[in-house]
């Protein structure tokens, strides 16, 4: 099997030049450590920033922490001056990192910077009791950094900080573990955040301003919007308003189904389909529970069998269709 290119070459399907290139490559047998190094760098940045953060926190009010702080400040200055020095000029389109280390240096600088501002607030109350400002300023700086240096990781941090500023915590884990959907206030904030993110996704693409950021915006935006719409539906379950939440969800699903189909994003297609399915199933269960004997249970089983099977066929067909086009 390994020599398949031999037969391909002898059949005349492979040009001599390509054949030679492959042979040379096979003979050299180079072993690439790209994955290992990237992982190591990433782990290193995480460990270092985590360690420094805890060091400062634990040693506050002792002499040692001045030293740690100075070290963090040095890290921030060092990382950012490195980034400013080596960064390729800003562009609206995607800018490639000048080298592999660049992304990680920037990450190191940004996280250290967050630690530093958090410390300033904690120790000196720089922002006073104005917590809005205390989260707003880091957020703006994070967004600026993300756009200027074109860094998806920093962008995600900026989005999370935006949520923080709006008073909610938005990451996949938090969404799953903080079941505090019972307060109306939180549901509205989530919904607003989700829509804001989706608008940002739209703007990124429409005005071609870092169009590749659309994925991150849309990823967070869709999750947050769908979850808050579902939460709203269940919150108002027994009132007439429940209908509007479901209608809103259906509208959102339709818009982004079309969008995902156009841009051939299987990830977003799957998201839209699964969230819609959850909504549809909750409606079906609601109807089925009206039946007050064991027949209702049978109906529920039949619903899931039929709808699940239908969904599988839909996914398979979509996959075939998008692939063949």
């Amino acid at each position: 099997m390994d020599q398949w290119y031999e037969s391909l070459h002898s059949e005349g399907l492979l040009s001599d030049a390509s054949y030679e290139k492959i042979k040379l490559h096979e003979k050299a047998g180079l072993f690439s450590v790209h994955w290992e190094i990237k992982t190591l760098l990433y782990i290193g940045v995480l460990l270092l920033t985590a360690g420094l953060g805890i060091l400062v926190y634990k040693n506050i009010d002792t002499i040692g922490h001045q030293f740690v702080l100075a070290f963090i400040a040095l890290l921030v200055i060092g990382s950012f001056s490195y980034c400013f020095k080596y960064a390729l000029p800003y562009d609206r389109a995607k800018v490639k990192a000048p080298n592999t280390a660049f992304d990680y240096v920037l990450l190191l600088g940004t996280i250290s910077f967050l630690t530093f501002t958090a410390y300033l607030q904690y120790q000196y109350q720089v922002f006073g009791s104005n917590y809005g400002l205390a989260t707003f300023i880091p957020m703006v700086l994070l967004f600026l950094t993300a756009y200027y240096f074109d860094h998806l990781g920093v962008l995600s941090m900026a989005i999370a900080n935006l949520a923080l500023w709006m008073g909610v915590s938005v990451t996949p884990k938090e969404l799953l573990h903080n079941y505090d959907f019972d307060s109306e206030h939180i549901i509205y904030t989530y919904l607003l955040l989700g829509i804001l993110l989706l608008v940002l996704a739209f703007v990124s693409q429409k005005f071609d301003l870092k169009a590749h950021f659309k994925f991150s915006y849309q990823h967070y935006g869709l999750h947050v919007s769908f979850i808050s719409l579902l939460a709203g539906y269940f919150h108002f379950y027994n009132s007439i308003f429940a209908m509007f939440w479901i209608l809103g969800l259906a509208g959102l699903a339709l818009i982004f189904y079309a969008d995902a189909y156009r841009s051939r994003s299987f990830y977003f297609l799957l998201l839209v389909i699964l969230y819609s399915y959850i909504a549809l199933s909750s409606l079906a269960i609601r109807m089925v529970t009206q039946v007050e004997n064991v027949g209702g249970l049978y109906l529920a089983f039949l619903y899931f069998l039929g709808s699940g099977g239908g969904l599988i066929l839909l996914l398979i067909n979509l996959n075939r269709k998008l692939k063949s086009e």
């Binding site: 099997m1 398949w4 760098l41 985590a50 060091l55």
Partner: protein, 395 residues
């Protein structure tokens, strides 16, 4: 024995190879397309997202379908008996065979899910059967169950090339030997680590050898899984913490944290083995060995810290972080030009991490752990507390 069309499996390997050559720029797109035409594959293989969706939906359908069947059969006493589980397993198996034969599914999510379900249902049925038998001690029952699990997952792996069942098969084989040894000799527990070390080492070396056999080329992925599991077991069977804990849990005098006999041996094993793995991984240019070795270095450090608190955790984190960055940086500098057959990166090399953008999600996790808009005066900014949460959860 393999249910899938072997010619397509062969062609699939060629296509994948051709694709990687195209990404690296060794062949052009026309040549790639020609190779694809010449070696066609008609499997139904959706992309990872659709695969995940199909996997979930299949689980849902089988759960609901089996629930419906059980509901209908609930009038009799049937569903409490193991036969019912076996009956459901046979149905799932028939569905699995049917979907592969009629729709040519290959790692589509549907077949992945059904293979696991079949294994679980057979195992459940057998477990119920064992639970109802009397007159055997726990060790014997565990032994019999491990053997059964090994047989069923081995058969599934041989037919469906599923990597997960391959891993379960190896693990249950080791478990079976462990329980058998434990039952046969009185000093079973004390000598079990050595038995497992030898056994897993033999398994690993065998896997390495048969992995090169051309007639087993279809099983390459599964054999890699065997390598991974047996490497982990090689290490686990000599790791100080694991040996001590298992001794405590399974031994006669429970919950006594007494030091292990031959402590020096186990400690050197715990610390040195990962380094041996990394060394041979680099020497043999074996990615599996190298990566497992790197992961196990972390395990070794964690084990050591569990017993000796030389430094506070945050100092350790900081130092380890600096070291990791330094090593990475030095390696990049050193490999600026390829040396000794190592290269930093090849053009067009695609990383799964980049593809799924997992990294950006992990990063966001860190910020979210900052206390959100504090309600009380005293909970303001948790200082550096957000960093710690992120580091431990990401891995």
């Amino acid at each position: 024995m393999i249910v899938f069309n072997k010619e397509w499996l062969h062609n699939l390997r060629i296509q994948e190879q051709a694709q990687s050559y195209r990404d690296k720029g060794y062949i052009n797109n026309d040549e790639f397309k020609l190779a694809r035409q010449h070696y066609p594959v008609s499997f139904y293989m959706p992309n990872p997202f659709v695969r995940a969706g199909l996997f979930l939906l299949t689980l849902l359908i089988v759960a609901v379908g089996d629930g419906l069947l059980s509901l209908m059969a609930s009038a009799g006493n049937m569903i409490a008996s193991p036969i019912w589980s076996f009956f459901l397993a046979v149905i799932s198996y028939a569905a699995l065979e049917a979907i592969i034969h009629s729709e040519q599914h290959f790692r589509s999510g549907v077949d992945d899910a059904l293979e696991l379900i079949v294994a679980c249902q057979f195992a459940t049925g057998f477990g119920i059967m064992l639970a109802k038998t009397q007159g055997y001690d726990g060790n014997t029952l565990r032994l019999v169950f491990s053997i059964f699990l090994f047989v069923i997952t081995l058969l599934l792996t041989l037919r469906f090339l599923n990597r997960l069942t391959a891993a379960i098969a190896v693990a249950s084989l080791f478990a079976a030997f462990f329980f058998a040894w434990n039952g046969v000799t009185t000093a079973g527990l004390a000598t079990a680590p050595f038995l497992l070390m030898i056994l897993s080492a033999v398994t690993y070396l065998t896997a390495l050898r048969i992995g090169k056999k051309p007639e087993l080329v279809n099983y390459k992925d599964c054999i890699s899984m065997i390598e991974i599991v047996s490497l982990l077991v090689i290490y686990a069977s000599g790791n100080y913490y694991i040996v001590q804990t298992l001794g405590n849990v399974l031994g006669p005098d429970k919950n006594v944290n007494k030091p292990l006999p031959l402590g020096g041996f186990f400690w050197s094993y715990t610390i040195l083995m990962p380094l041996v793995f990394v060394f041979y991984g680099l020497k043999r240019k074996d990615a599996i060995l190298l990566r497992i070795g790197l992961i196990l270095i972390v395990a070794a450090v964690a084990t050591f810290r569990n017993y000796f608190h030389l430094l506070p955790a945050e100092t350790m984190l900081t130092i380890a972080g600096i070291f990791a960055i330094l090593i990475a940086w030095l390696t990049i500098r050193y490999l600026a030009t390829p040396k000794n057959g190592f290269i930093y990166t090849e053009p067009g090399e695609k990383l799964l991490l980049d593809y799924l953008r997992v990294e950006s999600l992990i990063t966001a996790q860190r910020v979210a752990n900052m206390p959100s808009a504090p309600k009380h005066e005293d909970s303001r900014f948790g200082g550096g507390d957000f960093g710690g949460g992120g580091a431990s959860e990401s891995f």
